[in-house]
């Protein structure tokens, strides 16, 4: 199979279009970090992948670096101070003294405390930021960090086996030297941490292909398109179980093609989560290693600085196979199917081959549904201005509400299967969404704090409120509040309705952090 047998859309490239300078980050300590017994996330898979890469002789074609550990002030470029302090201080022996913090930062179950947790975070984040700097300095065309790609981590909490979001940190580094960065996520889980971080900016476009419908993390709806300046700069491709190589390619290529044309990113970050492979312990797609790597191959053909990151992947021998093969694709080498002898040879029995084909599981994505999704997204992309010669317009500060979709979509998302067919992009109801902003202008709009349990007294001094512009029907806000058992009082100040939803006691609103804990609207917090 030829390397560039598929027609990519190369932008003007260098003299040798097939060769790319590749930097690869690897830390030999990574394999010995251990989440907990029975936990599906095993950093050992990165060591296995590295061993395969070495034994296939790929060293000749790339540079290998040991990453620097990220320091705490460098985490704080994105993450909250107290969260990072917590990660630095917590250990398995002392965690029982910090139960409240564990709960607050969502550490302890999916994201357990284990020995060396903080240095693990420093290592994998250091690799991603190092990869970004390599691209910034134009020292390589493609940089790789398979230990990174932990896309669920949020600003102030861990999530989905991820503690710090190395992708956000790497993108922030890239943004110093690149005006626009494209982020693509082919992990089976929605890339919620990265999307959330860049939801309101147009300097980063996030595209995620994921299973949607009764599946972690629950976000990634087709209609989540971004907000404010970032509107239309988030793309979500919700899929059902069992998608195969062909269907995936028929979505990936046209959409990314269009994105590249319209957005013209100066750098691309691809999160190559391997849990979208067939036979993954937690995943339910049906991609082969070749199908998965086709995404890498396609992006490589654009000849834009590219960063490859790891991510999910819980059948570790398949993860090693996949990332080894994708390293070879990046480098431009074709690998033989019979695995070379390597230190982990016995993991790959009984066939000891590189490629593992898909299974015969049913593809629950019909061609019609996929076509519908593709068309919706292509339409969405049309709304983006092509790279303008003038800066993007500033939005007026008072319109803080995004258009919404039909209400019955709410019900549909509860079912297991995502149903794209019955979704219409035209007849949208303007369902209001309550956002919390911290705009200090007028001293009126502050964070929204609601408590579902207690009676609220009107007129409390520490009331928090939200402004509602004229076109948004108030009764819909009331419905939403009412359905979540909140109390509120109404005030009218000037031309706009002002809704003050008050907390029930001052002691609750004692700190920023407990505010965050009480935020339940918009389905944000558990």
């Amino acid at each position: 199979m030829g390397l560039d047998d598929e027609s990519g859309s190369s932008l003007p490239s260098g003299t040798d279009a097939k060769k790319r300078k590749v930097s690869y980050f690897y830390d030999s300590e990574i394999g010995n970090y251990y989440y907990s017994q029975g936990h599906p996330m095993k950093p050992h898979r990165i060591r296995m992948a590295h061993n395969l890469v070495l034994n296939y002789g790929l060293l000749e074609c790339m540079e290998v670096c040991k990453p620097n550990l990220l320091e705490s002030n460098e985490f704080r470029v994105f993450h909250a101070d107290d969260y990072i302090s917590f990660l630095q201080s917590v250990t398995p022996e002392t965690q029982h003294e910090q139960l409240r913090q564990l709960k607050r930062f969502n550490v302890g179950e999916d994201c357990p405390v284990f020995d060396g947790l903080y240095s693990f975070c420093q290592t994998y984040a250091g690799g991603s930021v190092g990869a970004a700097v390599k691209l910034n300095n134009k020292e390589s065309d493609i940089s790789i960090n398979w230990s990174g790609g932990l896309h669920h981590a949020k600003k102030c909490e861990a999530s989905g086996f991820c503690y710090v979001n190395d992708i956000v940190l790497a993108i922030l580094e890239l943004l110093k030297w690149h005006q626009r960065v494209l982020y693509i996520d082919i992990d089976i889980h929605h890339g919620d941490g990265v999307e959330e971080a860049f939801y309101t900016t147009d300097r980063v476009m996030t595209v995620s292909f994921h299973k949607f419908g009764d599946y972690f993390p629950g976000t990634g709806h087709l209609k989540d398109v971004g907000y404010g300046k970032g509107k239309c700069y988030s793309l979500n491709v919700p899929l059902n179980d069992g998608i195969d190589d062909e269907s995936y390619k028929n979505l990936f290529r046209p959409i990314i093609q269009k994105v590249m044309e319209v957005y013209q990113p100066e750098a691309v970050v691809l999160q190559c989560g391997a849990d979208s492979l067939s036979g993954d312990r937690l995943g339910c797609f049906n991609l082969s290693v070749k199908g998965h790597a086709d995404c890498v191959r396609f992006l490589r053909s654009f000849n834009v600085p590219l960063m490859l990151l790891g991510g999910g992947g819980y059948t570790i021998r398949n993860v090693a196979r996949c990332w080894c093969y994708e390293t070879a694709v990046a480098v431009g080498v074709e690998l033989q199917d019979k695995l070379p002898i390597n230190e982990y040879y016995e993991y790959f029995g009984p066939d000891y081959t590189l490629h593992v084909g898909p299974s015969n599981m049913e593809n629950q994505n019909s061609a019609k549904e996929l076509a519908k999704i593709r068309n919706t997204l292509l339409e969405q992309l049309k709304r983006i201005q092509h790279v303008p010669s003038v800066p993007f317009q500033e939005r007026p500060p008072d319109t803080k509400f995004a258009e919404e979709e039909e209400e019955d979509l709410e019900k549909r998302t509860k079912s297991n299967k995502w149903d794209a067919e019955s979704h219409s992009s035209e007849s949208e109801d303007q369902k209001p969404q309550i956002h919390y902003t911290d705009a200090s202008e007028k001293g009126v709009v502050r964070r929204l704090v609601c408590s579902p349990t207690k009676q609220i007294k009107s007129g409390e001094e520490n009331g928090i409120g939200v402004m509602i512009p004229d076109h948004v029907p108030l009764h819909k806000i009331h419905n939403q509040l009412y359905s979540e058992n909140h109390s509120w009082t109404e005030l009218k100040t000037g031309p706009e309705e002002f809704l003050r939803v008050t907390s029930w006691s001052k002691s609750v609103v004692s700190s920023q952090n407990s505010l965050a804990q009480n935020l339940t609207l918009c389905g944000h917090l558990k």
Binding site: F25, E29, G31, N32, G38, R47, N51, L54, Y56, C65, K66, N68, D110, G126, G127, V129, V133, N137, K154, C156, V168, H189, D192, E196, Y199, T201, R203, D214, F216, P217, G218, T219, D224, Y227, L277, L282, T315, I316, Q336, D337, P340, I341, E343, E346, Y347, G349, T353, V356, G357, N360, M361, L409, T413, N416, H435, Y436, T437, D438, R447, H524
Partner: protein, 488 residues
């Protein structure tokens, strides 16, 4: 929460103080009756729940005491009741020895399980109508003299048909019966299956099933932790909240009949413990993306970086950048190491000259060869990439005895029995670091286990299944020839 003890069974809160169990209450206040109702139901409840052991001291991560816990409970009851029960308390239980003696002077449902007595008892009522939440032992007790002070009882109008001797005896019988039930309620070899004991057994099981079993969660009534036979496979009933995985698993058996041996789906068994990860609450409305500086990253406006800020001239920047570039490990400057270009991308040869191609020994020989080759090709990078920490080589630092202990500890603490092997490992190998334990686990233990899984045709090759192949591995390790020493 604090451990449960006999004192806590059936405990109720007492005005903000710690919970006090019925036996403790009786002990402190002998005039009160022991609330056998609550006690009995509570024991039944807690011993039926597989998740919560009835005995103190265990938290979620520790071994489930299961059978032992249940039996211990009964022993405690025995000692507690015998030690503190005053004989003037009327025997509230129907399981008295009276039945055996065929006494006819008992009022009410003396032994509701007796086939001779057709009188309806609260227990019978309950069994015929499981919707009631509790076995109404109170009404059982009312059929006899209620608990009074010793003096009052002796002088009561309705003579206590039971002497204090008989009270104790019947209570003893109860305790003995409970103990037997605890030890093995489903023991087919029990010779007391006949007669009233057998009936008691059967009725106890039905009561338990009706009261406490969630049929969806248990595939079979017999499947209890204290069951002596080996635990069933990890496939369990799937809770409805993870429908997606269940749908996948309910794919027809064509998945399993796939002929390719390394067909990925064949090896995937979504055990229940895996499904505890990455759960979401699907009942909640659609999750929205929050918009707030609290959640978004701080993205500055784009400013064209001054290209004059040359990386080589501005020292500060050079320092920052070079820090982030990490430490280059390959290629190595100045060293003239070459890798055979012909080997790039090449897999293993089709044939080898070993006497038993494909055997464990064959694989080991070739792994050692490849290691040598890499050592000469990589030079200093070989150590920097931690090759001493890769593959079976790691076992070189372990004695045979240590390896045997490691394998035994893992085998004896399988996760399918809700046990954990890490703490025992850490305690046994106090002289080794945790990193070295993890390293041995992945580089040696799992590797060897998988070599057995592959060759012994267990049907699936699964790096996460710590139980498949371990027995064979353990046997092999006992033979020194398996554990190679002195092989470069």
């Amino acid at each position: 929460m604090a451990g449960w003890s006999i004192w806590d069974h059936g405990a109720v809160p007492v005005s903000g103080k710690r919970f006090r169990g019925p036996i403790q209450e009786h002990r402190e206040n002998p005039e009160t009756r022991i609330n056998f109702t609550g006690l009995f139901n509570h024991i039944l409840h807690s011993c039926s729940e597989r998740q919560r052991p009835p005995i103190s001291g265990f938290h979620g991560n520790e071994s489930f005491p299961s059978q032992n816990g249940y039996v211990n409970t009964i022993y405690e009851i025995e000692s507690g009741v015998l030690g503190h029960l005053t004989p003037d308390i009327g025997n509230p239980f129907p399981f008295s020895s009276e039945t055996k003696h065929g006494s006819s002077s008992n009022a009410g449902a003396l032994n509701p399980f007796s086939s001779e007595r057709k009188l309806e008892s609260p227990l019978d009522n309950y069994l015929s109508n499981p919707c009631s939440s509790e076995i109404n032992c109170e009404s059982l007790m009312k059929t006899r003299s209620s608990g009074r002070k010793r003096e009052a009882q002796l002088s009561s109008d309705s003579p206590n048909p039971f002497s204090s001797e008989r009270n104790q005896e019947s209570t003893l019988n109860l305790i003995h019966w409970l103990r037997k039930v605890a030890e093995n309620p489903c023991d087919p070899s029990s010779d007391q299956k006949q007669g009233w004991y057998g009936e008691l057994l059967a009725q106890n099981l039905r009561a338990r099933e009706a009261l406490f079993l969630n049929i969806q969660n248990a595939s079979c009534v017999e499947e209890y932790p204290y069951q002596k036979k080996a635990a069933k496979s990890s496939r369990r009933a799937i809770p409805p909240s993870t429908r997606s995985q269940r749908d996948y698993l309910s794919q027809p058996s064509s998945l399993l009949s796939s002929t390719k041996p390394d067909q990925p789906n064949q090896s995937v068994q979504r055990s229940q413990r895996l499904m505890t990860y990455l759960k979401i609450n699907s009942d909640k409305p659609r999750k929205r993306v929050p918009v707030d500086p609290f959640f978004q990253a701080d993205v500055p406006e784009w400013t064209e970086p001054s290209r004059k800020r040359a990386r080589s001239t501005n020292e500060q920047n050079t320092l920052d950048d070079s820090r982030w570039l990490g430490t280059r490990v390959w290629p190595i400057e100045g060293l003239n190491l070459t890798i055979d270009q012909g080997l790039i991308g090449k897999g293993r040869p089709d044939r080898c000259s070993c006497t038993q191609p494909g055997s464990v020994q064959c694989a080991r020989v070739h792994v050692a060869e490849s290691r040598q080759r890499l050592r000469s090709e990589l030079g200093p990078a070989f150590d920097k990439w931690g090759f001493n920490d890769m593959g079976e080589e790691v076992a070189m630092n372990w004695t045979l005895k240590d390896e045997q202990s490691f394998t035994s500890l893992v085998r004896l603490n399988p996760i399918s029995k809700k046990k954990r092997f890490w703490m025992p490992l850490v305690m046994r190998f106090y002289d080794k670091t945790k990193e070295s334990l993890v390293s041995y686990y992945f580089n040696v233990f799992v590797l060897r286990r998988m070599s057995f899984q592959t060759r012994m045709a267990y049907g699936k090759v699964d790096s996460d299944d710590d139980e498949g192949g371990v027995r064979d591995l353990q046997r092999a390790i006992l033979s020194e020839s398996y554990v190679q020493r002195g092989v470069p």
